[in-house]
Amino acid sequence: MNVATVVGTEFSGGVHPQGKKELTADSPIQSGPAVKRAVVMLSQHTGAICKPTVTEGTIVQAGQLIGDSDAFISAPVHSPIEGRVTEIALQSHPVLGRAPAVIIEPHASIPVRKPRPQAQRFFQADTGLNDYTQHQICQAVRKAGIVGMGGAGFPTSVKIEPNPRLPKHTMIINGCECEPYITCDYRIMLEWTHQLITGIKLAQKASACDKVYIGIEDNKPEAIKVLNETLQNTPACKDIEVVTVKTKYPQGGERQLIKAVLNRFVPTGGIPPTIGLIVLNVATVAAIADAVVCGSPLTHRVVTVTGEAIANPGNYYVAVGTPISELIDFCGGVTQKSAKVVVGGPMMGIAIADLSIPVTKTTNAVTVLTKEQIGRAKFARRQTACIHCGRCLQVCPERLNPTKISHAVKKNRLDIAQDYFITACTECGCCSYICPANIELTGYIRTGKIYLARQKKLIPQ
């Protein structure tokens, strides 16, 4: 029984933005708003966009399949509520611009789904891992449409399915939550501990990993304590170990987390399975337990609604498909000083102008920032000349040369950008954050990557 605090190594680079977690860290997970009009995107994940399996006018039940795809890398989507499909149309999407969505209007009086108070009790006992075979777990995860809920949205079934070509031996559970402001994973670790551990055991069984590490930043001592205690008191958890890692952005990036926990490097251009690892987010693992044990698809998730411009910041259990405007109104609206609405955290989130954009499976937070928080110069986007100070090189966790790459992209020299490994960039935003000249280095690098993908005809013009 391992209770000693294991401390991880440190990845090179990184920045220390203000955490701002205190806004919502002590706010327990509460029920979200009653949806007036659910906009369920047919693409909420990496991979093929789903085809709708319902038509306009169909009456759907909560949890009913509404979109699916035959492609290997894809995940089905389900209706979060009971109601009628009013429309299948293009809607604003935070990443894709416009994407197809199924719009469902609820029947007059349906109760809001509670954040499963029974779940804690349910997972309390030994959940009987032997009841489920490896195949059953994988099937349940696939059917529930679970995707990586930390942001990337990679279908989880593809990750945990045994692959004879890339056998996996170690699983890392990502509880770092290094993005400022966001606390949803922290609350899950505190409140849904048993469900989380059940999910870990299930995912471990499905992927046949020998060893599991839970990586948590050292600014969350409560979560580390609770998890260590629970692991100690739960039988058959000897192979799960909590690793305390340094509080530093982007500690929760999977490549950085692997370095910190195992002191190993994922090859550039490679993915963790190439060295036998899987990294799963805390929220994803909790969803696996939900799907396998309760059979409920991924239709709700915990979203941190936060920021200095939100009246009542907190963590809410929200139906996927809830428009962000409804969510913001539910939290008491925003104050006069709001300047930017960001889906996700301030480092990697996406600023949106259209608040009808819905919550998706990967929306971990909605952050409403004020001008003061953004910073006056950054707000005005007053970029000055690069003085070659080299700070972006120092903070780059992938040890790239952001200034060289972005200059190359600016001059349309993608060959030079590739020479300096533009594709190895994880877009964590450290370079833009630190730049004294306010240059949007990450923005230029993203642009360069899009140009490259177009050149290779990977995405349409």
Binding site: V15, P180, R255, F265, P267, T268, G269, G270, G333, Q336, K337, S338, A339, K340, V341, V342, G344, P346, M348, G349, A351, I352, A353, L355, T367, L369, Q373, I374, G375, A377, K378, F379, R381, T384, A385, C386, I387, H388, C389, G390, R391, L393, P397, E398, R399, L400, N401, F421, A424, E427, G429, S432, Y433, I434, C435, P436, N438, T442, G443, R446
Partner: protein, 346 residues
């Protein structure tokens, strides 16, 4: 109610750094050396420093007007012209006439910086460009060294034939004389080198002749430590400059300690400390990568000592910096970083 929303790419928050803050930190770090200059050279410093700074700032403003910059005052806000002015003033002989200073400042900013496109685009350190121009044009003025008001009278004149009440050879001038007279069976050579070696304390405090800001090593060290603590400069460059200068200065000294000044004396004379902390570390003209910074600093130190020991000039900091500036792009290309995950298998 929502006010107007901004949309831009991530990240949406910025760090506490700004170009202006970096420059202000450098000015703060230069303050001890400026005070020391005022203490040792009195009125000279009080005339030279403001003249240089003002003419640099005005030149930048005029260049902005010439370039039809819509906001000609905006680029002055980053204070980089002020720093160029201070560093130029500190690297000039105290008694240089003010008209020469104005010409030097104008060349620094106009030819050294603005013709390349302003801050961030220049290849050479602007202050060193201005100084090189003055050295080439007014050699006499640039080698007339005023005695500090607090001079130690034990420092002898270079030559008894030209007794001059207010000027005196720099310690490096003595060193050069010692080297040049090495072939003659003359005891003065050895004594001149020994003299410099014996004056380490005065050299360190600043009670010696030399350029305005370079004499007080104590003040420069204080400023340098401030910059290192604030992480404004790349620490590798000053370390590499001083280490390489020390190593290369040791070689002749170990061969013949009576003819050559000691490596410690080399580090406490001339502009090597000013260069190590304030000139070579100019981010615009120094390499980006850590390895590149080591190579760059080592090159500056080595060339400085090479010029001091073998070359014609007594001091070599300026040309060392300019030469290494010119190879900075090559160093950057040579020292390409490898991503943490290794090179991708393409």
């Amino acid at each position: 109610m929502l006010s107007k929303l901004t949309v831009s790419c991530a990240p949406h928050i910025g760090g506490p750094f700004s170009t202006r803050r970096v420059m202000v930190d450098v000015i703060i770090a230069l303050a001890p050396a400026m005070l020391a200059a005022c203490y040792f050279f009195h009125a000279y410093a009080l005339i030279l420093l403001p003249t240089c700074v003002l003419s640099c700032v005005i030149t930048e403003y005029l260049c902005n007007l010439l370039r039809r910059n819509e906001k000609p005052l905006e680029s002055l806000g980053d204070f980089s012209a002020v720093i160029t002015g201070i560093i130029l003033a500190m690297s000039l002989p105290p008694a240089i006439p003010f008209w020469a200073v104005i010409i030097g400042s104008a060349v620094s900013i106009a030819i050294g910086k603005m013709v390349f496109g302003g801050l961030g685009s220049n290849i050479f350190n602007p202050a060193m460009v201005g100084r090189a121009f003055l050295t080439a044009s007014f050699g006499m003025l640039m080698t007339t060294w005023t005695v500090p008001a607090t001079i130690d009278k034990t420092m002898p004149q270079v030559s008894a034939a030209s007794p001059d009440a207010i000027t005196q050879a720099t310690p490096l001038g003595h060193s050069k004389q010692a080297i040049k007279q090495a072939k003659a069976p003359d005891k003065t050579a050895a004594s001149q080198a020994q003299l410099v070696n014996s004056q380490l304390k005065n050299l360190f405090v600043g009670s010696t002749s030399g350029c305005l800001g370079e004499t007080s090593k104590l003040a420069l060290l204080l400023g340098g430590i401030y910059l290192l603590i604030r992480q404004v400069i790349n620490w590798r460059i000053p370390f590499a400059v001083l280490l390489s200068a020390f190593v290369f200065a040791s070689i002749p000294w170990l061969i013949n300690p009576s003819r050559y000044i000691s490596p410690i004396a080399h580090l406490t004379t001339g502009g090597i400390l000013l260069c190590a902390f304030f000139i070579a570390t100019d981010p615009v003209t120094a390499p980006l990568t850590g390895k590149g910074a080591w190579i760059f600093g080592a090159g500056v130190g080595a060339i400085t000592i090479l010029i001091r020991v073998v070359g014609e000039y007594p001091e070599g900091v300026m040309y060392a910096v300019l030469l290494m500036n010119s190879v900075t792009p090559l160093i950057d290309r040579l020292c390409k970083l490898t991503p943490v995950g290794g090179k991708p298998n393409v």
